[in-house]
């Protein structure tokens, strides 16, 4: 009897002394689960909630009414072609940069990064100025060169929308392919070479099949990305009467709002995303190609020979579509009185900057909100992501691997769907966060969690537990270890996590567009508002501001990371 009692006390004491930090881990986990489940639960509830009681009327209407069906169909067509084009451009560039002797590879990588950082809605806006059928500068040049009456390209069309979305989706494929290409060893290629295959045949029959899973994975990633975009379809699709699922959900919020339909319409988007992510995991997780994955083997560069310069020109041409041309037109629109006229002294003005920064109160408040939210979300997000990644990586809790699932779950929730859920959850008493920047904070935190988590996870994977074990043996508890040992080692990785989240936040539009109120506007929303009123110069100014800040942050990361490498070498 006494023995049992002592045992109980002992084990109770054991828990206390062993793991006083347990509440932190459990708290972080519960927070994450709460963050994910609440909005999704609300969507499900609201989708079955008609005007009078429970019904499946919402679903019936969504899947029978022509306008809704057309939006679904448009979305599928657009996303499919975006996926295809993104794979072609992304894999070509990824392969050229990693496996050939293309000149200026670092610069090209930086430019791909620039396309990645450019918010698609900003790219879409810039392309309306470049390729509007009549006033677009490229079409004007084309007409004056050929004397033709017709436009070369009408950006306000399904094709135009696909084109622009592909331009800002291909970096996803690029990074995937570039990673895989760096892992494929040259052994197999050498074997084929020895057996007499030509250089191109090797590329087509050996390298390409080895990269095939990554290509398919990249396709799905680009497909998903375009599925969730809101700004580009709204800017390029709506003027040409093309609705997509996201713009349709947004339209359902107009007065009188049909939240039941918006929720019901979110569910297919959610399911489609889940399905595709599962598929992608299956394809990439199979790793049937043993050569991919190891770091062994030697990798040699392919000599492009006479194709070296033409390939370089082609790459630059592609990147000019996503970077040079849009940036140039934005700069011009920001500095010109009439953007369609040549930028002469008479046409030069700083009025747009003055209006954006000093006269229009909305922009000042929005800039402030955006940076507040960026810093706040990035900081809290990094801490939470690091805690969760630490738990899953070191298996601190039972069921830790299910946490991975929750941390990555927002990947399957398109921004606008998340926003519908959050609006349902937090726009009515008792939890009224709507009307404050906190609802945006929660949206951003949720949305950026997968990126933050995977970044933090990779970081912790590379830090061996031995060092932690050493200090724990010496008596430090987990949190102290995390703070004093692990975090300093993970510094560069965590700074990168912070920056990724920050950049993700300041360019966010698809969730913000449903969650902002005039009191809690952010820059992306102001840009969208101004677009609807046709204030081109001011939009350009704000767009340039977003880009500049993003680039500065990236430079800061690189600087921090380089400092880290130097430090470890010492």
């Amino acid at each position: 009897m006494e023995a049992v009692g002592r045992l109980r006390v002992g084990s109770w004491r054991g828990i206390r002394t062993l793991d006083r930090t347990l509440p932190v881990w459990i708290g972080a986990s519960l927070f994450l689960i709460f963050l994910m489940l609440l909005p999704l639960g609300w969507i499900l509830v609201a989708s079955f909630r008609g005007e009078e009681g429970w019904s499946v009327g919402g679903y019936v209407q969504v899947f029978t009414e022509k306008a809704f069906l057309r939006a679904i169909w448009n979305t599928l067509i657009i996303s499919f072609w975006v996926g295809v084009i993104a794979v072609v451009i992304g894999s070509l560039l990824g392969w050229l940069v990693t496996r050939t002797d293309l000149p200026l590879k670092r610069t090209i990588r930086a430019l791909v990064m620039a396309s990645f950082v450019t918010p698609p809605f900003l790219g879409a806006f810039a392309w309306t100025l470049l390729a509007g059928p009549n006033a677009g500068l490229l079409n004007k040049i084309y007409r004056s060169l050929t004397g033709s009456e017709e436009a070369l390209f009408n950006i306000f069309s399904m094709e135009g929308l696909i084109f622009v979305m592909a331009l800002y989706s291909f970096p996803y494929v690029f990074s995937m392919i570039a990673n895989v290409c760096e892992l494929i060893s040259s052994d197999l290629e050498d074997a084929a070479n020895i057996l007499g295959a030509s250089m191109w045949r090797v590329a087509l029959t050996v390298t390409l099949p080895l990269a095939a899973p990554a290509l398919l994975g990249g396709f799905i990633l680009a497909f998903l990305h375009s599925l969730s975009l809101f700004g580009a379809p709204a800017i390029l699709g709506l003027p040409a009467s093309v609705h997509t699922i996201t713009t349709q959900i947004w339209a359902l919020f107009q007065y009188p709002p049909r939240l039941d339909l918006a929720a019901a319409f979110s569910v297919p988007l959610l399911l489609a995303t889940m399905l595709l992510i599962a598929l992608q995991k299956k394809i990439l997780g199979r790793r049937g190609y043993s050569t991919v994955g190891g770091k062994g083997g030697e990798r040699r560069l392919l000599h492009l020979g006479i194709f070296r310069i033409p390939a370089f020109v082609l790459v630059l041409a592609l990147l000019s579509l996503s970077v040079f041309l849009p940036y140039w037109i934005l700069l011009k629109a920001a500095l010109a009185k009439a953007w369609a006229q040549p930028l002469t002294w008479d046409n030069f003005t700083l009025e747009n900057f003055k209006f954006a920064f000093f006269q229009y109160g909305d922009t000042q408040a929005a800039i402030l909100n955006t940076f507040k939210l960026g810093i706040l979300t990035a900081t809290v997000g990094t801490v939470v992501a690091a805690l969760i990644a630490y738990i899953t990586n070191r298996q601190l809790l039972w069921g830790a691997r299910y946490l991975t699932f929750f941390a990555l779950a927002p990947l399957v929730v398109p921004g606008i769907v998340l926003a519908v859920g959050l609006f349902l959850a937090y726009a009515r008493p008792p939890f009224v966060l709507y009307g404050t920047i906190w609802i945006l904070f929660i949206a951003y935190l949720t949305k950026e969690m997968p990126i933050g988590f995977s970044q933090a996870e990779t970081t912790f994977k590379s830090i061996h537990p031995e060092l932690e074990d050493a200090s724990r043996i010496l008596g430090a508890n987990r949190l102290v270890v995390l703070r004093d040992v692990t975090a300093p080692l993970a510094r560069a990785g965590l700074i990168a996590t912070w920056c990724f989240i920050f950049i993700g936040v300041i360019r966010e539009l698809s969730a913000s567009i449903l969650l902002f109120t005039p009191k809690s506007k952010v820059v992306s929303v102001v840009i969208f508002d101004l677009k609807e009123e046709g204030q081109i110069g001011v939009i350009a100014v704000l767009g340039i501001l977003l880009l500049l800040v993003s680039f500065l942050v990236i430079l800061a990361v690189q600087w921090a990371a380089r400092g880290e490498i130097l430090a470890t070498r010492e």
């Binding site: 306008a67 509007g132 059928p133 009549n134 006033a135 677009g136 306000f156 699709g237 709506l238 003027p239 040409a240 009467s241 093309v242 609705h243 713009t247 339209a251 919020f253 107009q254 007065y255 009188p256 709002p257 009439a338 369609a340 006269q359 229009y360 109160g361 909305d362 726009a427 009515r428 008493p429 009224v432 709507y434 009307g435 109120t517 005039p518 009191k519 508002d529 101004l530 609807e532 009123e533 046709g534 204030q535 081109i536």
Partner: protein
């Protein structure tokens, strides 16, 4: 006796003036304490910020927060905030008279009679005293004279149905703009929904705000505006852009855009002060000067090269009808134009 009488009259007039002056001073004092007024407006950004700045110069220490978006978005914002129990907006201004019928019916407005409204025409006043017309906008046709000659240019709404304009026109959207919602209802009253069904065959470029077609026409992106706010066309033309306005003889939709104070206005005194200011000659004249906006004030003068409202054949739409048809207008427009 006569002298005494006139003396008394002077005294009473003076004291009445003093009383109202004292009331004014009290209101200004209270407004300054509130320090802020929040204005949800569909008035074009340059004009709305100008009025806000005029007010802030006159009443130092009271900040005007301008939140400009389309009429329908303003209503959406207001209703979403009401349903979430958020009290943010002080003054509501949209171009859709129907909105104010709706808001009044739902009891979401404060009854307030701004100063000097007695001399305004009746079309600018709500009979029940909740909202008043700040400006009158016309929805007109416009064209780019660099692309379309005056002879070719469409002279009437009906001419826009001609297939020769296919792919050459731009329209704003009734799901965004109150001016366009009123425009659509006015034309439907004239020609029925078949007009828009036929018009949509000409593949119009869709923009949102009634101000946006001006830029689209001026840049030549689409040489003809099938509708749009006349004041913004006029302003764009005056800035030296290639643009001409056509006032169709069949009738021109007249859009009276009301202002009202929200029931739960967080800054009620500042809201009253700003509403009074909006209806002063000073503010309305500035609007008329900047972009030739029509107002209800009898003393405001308009640019010489603009037609007088009296000379035009105006199409009025009852606010009650707009409220009733709000959903139908948007739905059928989307049906015909696809988005």
């Amino acid at each position: 006796m006569k002298k005494l009488f006139s003396f008394l009259l002077v005294i009473s007039l003076c004291s009445w003036g003093a009383v109202s002056f004292a009331q004014d001073a009290a209101m200004i004092e209270a407004a300054k304490k509130e320090g802020k007024v929040i204005w949800y407006t569909s008035l074009a950004l340059p004009s709305s910020t100008m009025i806000a700045n005029l007010f802030m110069n006159k009443y130092k220490g009271i900040e005007v927060e301008v939140h400009r978006t389309g009429s329908q978005r303003v209503l959406q914002r207001v209703m979403q905030e009401v349903s979430a129990g958020i009290k943010n907006v002080d003054i509501i201004h949209t171009s859709d008279g129907g909105h104010f019928v709706l808001l009044r019916k739902k009891g979401l407005l404060t009854k307030y009679l701004p100063k000097g409204l007695e001399s305004f025409p009746s079309g600018f006043k709500d009979k029940e005293g909740y909202y008043f017309g700040m400006r009158a906008t016309l929805s007109v046709i416009a064209y780019n004279p660099k692309v379309v000659t005056e002879k070719e240019a469409p002279k009437s709404w009906k001419e826009l149905l001609d297939p020769k304009w296919r792919g050459k026109m731009v329209t704003a959207h009734p799901s965004y703009s109150g001016i366009i919602a009123t425009h659509v209802q006015a034309i439907v009253n004239l020609y029925g929904w078949d007009y828009f069904k036929e018009l949509s065959r000409n593949k119009l470029h869709l923009v949102q705000s009634a101000n946006d077609p001006a830029g689209v026409v001026a840049s030549g992106e689409r040489p003809v505006g099938a509708n749009g706010a006349e004041y913004f066309y006029y302003k764009t033309m005056k800035q030296g852009n290639p643009l001409r306005i056509v006032y169709p003889k069949e009738g021109i939709p007249l859009v009276v855009s009301p202002v009202a104070i929200a029931r739960d206005a967080p800054h009620p005194n500042a809201a009253k002060l700003f509403t009074d200011f909006i209806f002063t000659k000073e503010s309305l004249q500035a609007m008329a000067d900047l972009e030739g906006l029509y107002t209800g004030h009898p003393d405001v003068t308009y640019p010489k090269d603009k037609p007088k409202l009296k000379e035009l054949n105006l199409l009025n739409v009852e606010a009650e009808q707009l409220e009733e048809k709000n959903a139908e207008i948007k739905k059928r427009f989307v049906e015909f134009f696809g988005a």
